[in-house]
Amino acid sequence: MKVATVFKLGQSATLRAETKRPPMPMLKVAKYAVYDILQNRFVLAYMLFLLVVSMSFFNLENDPVKGMMSLLNIILIVLPLVSIVFATIHLYNSYEFMELMLAQPLRRSDIFMGQYLGMAASLCIAFGVGVGVPVLIYDGSGSGAILVLCGLLLTLSFVSMAFLATVLSRDKARGIGIALLLWFFCTILYDGLVLMSMFAFSDYPLEKAVIGLAFLNPVDLARIAMLLQLDAAALMGYTGALFQHFFGSVTGGGISLLAMMAWIVLPLWWAARIFQKKDI
């Protein structure tokens, strides 16, 4: 971030603050955050990586459904990891910029949300171009749209978690540690724990409990949304029909979308609260 632009931003904000609040300072902060992220080139590399991977998946498999299956693994593992780790590191790196901004007559929530918007927007655009475009070209069906939507929502929720990890600790190493732990928990540990408890309590009727447990993990929510598209036939069998009934229905779909939203809003809200009261 160029110092001159920061000063300009700060000054104009100061001048206007005496009369009235500047229009949308949050968006302005977001804009500078996006500039900053683009200078880094990592997001560009991430976008290219996604583009190459999804193109090659679709080209390797004749059937677009199979391409989507392979792509799903990337979205469930790589995307959360990149989102959370990159957002965490970047937020620590722009700590000085944030401090500088805080010295200006701007509201803390505007600065915080501006940073969030900038980060979320750049990662979402990278994902949209990297995965959205190939999916549109090679598949173009409803399940492709759901795949892209799931990816976007997952990006948003993992950026939220990254912000939470950052405000929880001033120490960069600890913050990244927390971020990695969150990723590890959501993608691998959680499913393992639930599977283990399912084995342990297999004598009990667990169908409804399992539906409830799915809401406690955004990765599971995204995975199940795609499962309904890719493995509909298998889900129609046995108890699978119960899931199909619940998640496949409009109400169930709405509830899972709301739960996904909660996974974006709640960590962010908590992080914002901590940031608001934090002694910088």
């Binding site: 059937d63 459904v65 199979k66 299956m69 799903l72 693994n73 469930l76 593992i77 993608t187 691998i188 499913d191 393992g192 639930v194 599977l195 399912m198 084995f199 297999s202 667990l206 169908e207 399992v210 539906i211 799915a214 599971d220 995975r223 199940i224 795609m226 499962l227 890719l230 493995d231 509909a232 036939a233 298998a234 889900l235 129609m236 069998g237 046995y238 108890t239 699978g240 029909a241 119960l242 899931f243």
Partner: protein
């Protein structure tokens, strides 16, 4: 041989034109009732029925006749009667609309019912809202062809089968479209018969139901979105080729259910988007070749009671699970199939993989015991578990494997739809 007899029959039928008369039935004329025409006609005459609605309760054909409808005359059963009964040989019925036959629990009332007929030919009719559609009872050398059957049944108990054949021999069911009945086509004790090019869709129970019917052939049929797919039971020597089994989905739904089948051939079929493509129990000495399994929940569920079956040159694409079974005992042969999940290599380039493929995944076993674990399918954790199991098999049957999996899909004759 049966075709020769059939042909001979029709030549005979058409071979006595000198004595034959045509009786034209039309509303408002001297001959306004079909029953009068049937009473007056002599054997081998033609009764030509003009357009109109005929409410004549139950008509019975008791002599060799040609019954032809012109402009789709309607035989209305008024939900009480059996519109047309045939109790003679050498009868042909075509061009009628048979609607609203009665229903009963003790008796099987049908739109058109044939009692012990020989050389009866029922073709190009429209049957709507009937309890049973076309019913062949104890018939031989009969053809049912090009009919359209539509019923609007909702529960199994109150609806009948589309084309129902009981204790028949050498009959042929071709080019019919059946929808909304209990079973699309029902065969019980029917031998040496063929079912060709029919389309059975949206029936409440089975698209085709088949019991104690030996030496039969079914080819080029499509069975789509039926309550429980197609069931073939207690039968020897069935040939099933070039059929399409699609979108039969549900907790107890199968593309093809094989129970106690011996010496049969199931080849060149397409199984697409079924919950279970083939479920087999007590099935022996049968051959499964050149079939395509795509996007099914389970391509094959092979129970331990099956033995001496061979699966060769089948293609498995994008199924959730390829095979599941309920025992370690494997008495069937799997070889030279193409499995899209196969990850082996082919060093000598003979087109066959050098390491065996194990089609039963750990998670298929787990989800058989705990169906709700299905929720975690495609989870990374499950992927890791499956991987570990592939390296060191402990739970999945060790000897269920394809020793020479194909590296490329086998090119079959079945056109993919």
């Amino acid at each position: 041989m049966k075709h020769f007899f059939l042909l001979a029959g029709f030549i005979t039928l058409g071979g006595i034109p000198s004595a034959a008369r045509t009786w034209v039935v039309a509303p408002g004329t001297a001959l306004a009732n079909i029953s009068d025409a049937l009473a007056k006609a002599r054997p081998y005459d033609t009764v030509l029925v003009q357009a109109g609605t005929y409410r004549e309760r139950s008509l019975t054909v008791d002599k060799p006749l040609t019954l032809r409808g012109e402009g789709w005359p309607v035989l209305d059963g008024e939900t009480k009667y059996q519109p047309l009964s045939i109790r003679a040989n050498f009868v042909s019925v075509s061009g009628f609309q048979v609607v609203r036959c009665g229903s009963a629990s003790m008796e099987d009332i049908a739109g058109i019912k044939v009692y012990k007929g020989r050389f009866v030919y029922i073709f190009n009719n429209i049957l709507e809202d009937n309890y049973f559609g076309i019913y062949l009872s104890g018939c031989k050398n009969c053809w049912v062809s090009g009919n359209r059957l539509q019923a609007r049944g909702t529960v199994e108990q109150s609806s009948g089968n589309g084309i129902h054949a009981w204790k028949c021999d050498s009959i042929s069911i071709t080019d019919n479209r059946i929808a909304g009945h209990r079973d699309g086509i029902y065969f019980e004790f029917v031998t040496n018969s063929s079912i060709l090019r029919n389309h059975s869709e949206g029936n409440i129970r089975y698209g085709l139901h088949f019991m104690f019917s030996h030496n039969d052939t079914y080819q080029y049929n499509t069975f789509r979105q039926n309550g429980a797919g197609v069931a073939v039971m207690y039968t020897r020597n069935v040939t099933m080729t070039q059929n399409t089994f699609a979108q039969n989905r549900g907790g107890a739904s199968y593309g093809l259910l094989l129970k106690d089948i011996q010496g049969s051939h199931i080849s060149d079929n397409l199984f697409s988007e079924n919950t279970v493509a083939i479920y087999m129990e007590g099935c022996t000495r049968s051959h499964f070749e050149h079939n395509i399994f795509q996007q099914n929940g389970w391509a094959l569920k092979v129970q331990a009671s099956c033995d001496n079956n061979a699966f060769r040159y089948n293609n498995f694409f994008a199924n959730t699970f390829d095979i599941s079974t309920n025992s370690d005992l494997v008495l069937n042969v799997f070889e030279k199939n193409y499995w899209d999940k196969y990850e082996g290599y082919d060093l000598n380039r003979d087109g066959k993989g050098d390491v065996p493929y194990r089609p039963v995944s750990l998670f298929a076993m787990v989800s058989d015991q705990m169906p709700y674990a299905m929720m975690f399918w495609r989870s990374f954790t499950v992927f890791l578990l499956d991987r570990a199991e592939k390296v060191i098999p402990s739970l999945s049957p060790d000897n269920l494997r394809d020793l020479a999996p194909l590296m490329k899909p086998y090119v079959t004759r079945t056109a993919t739809q």
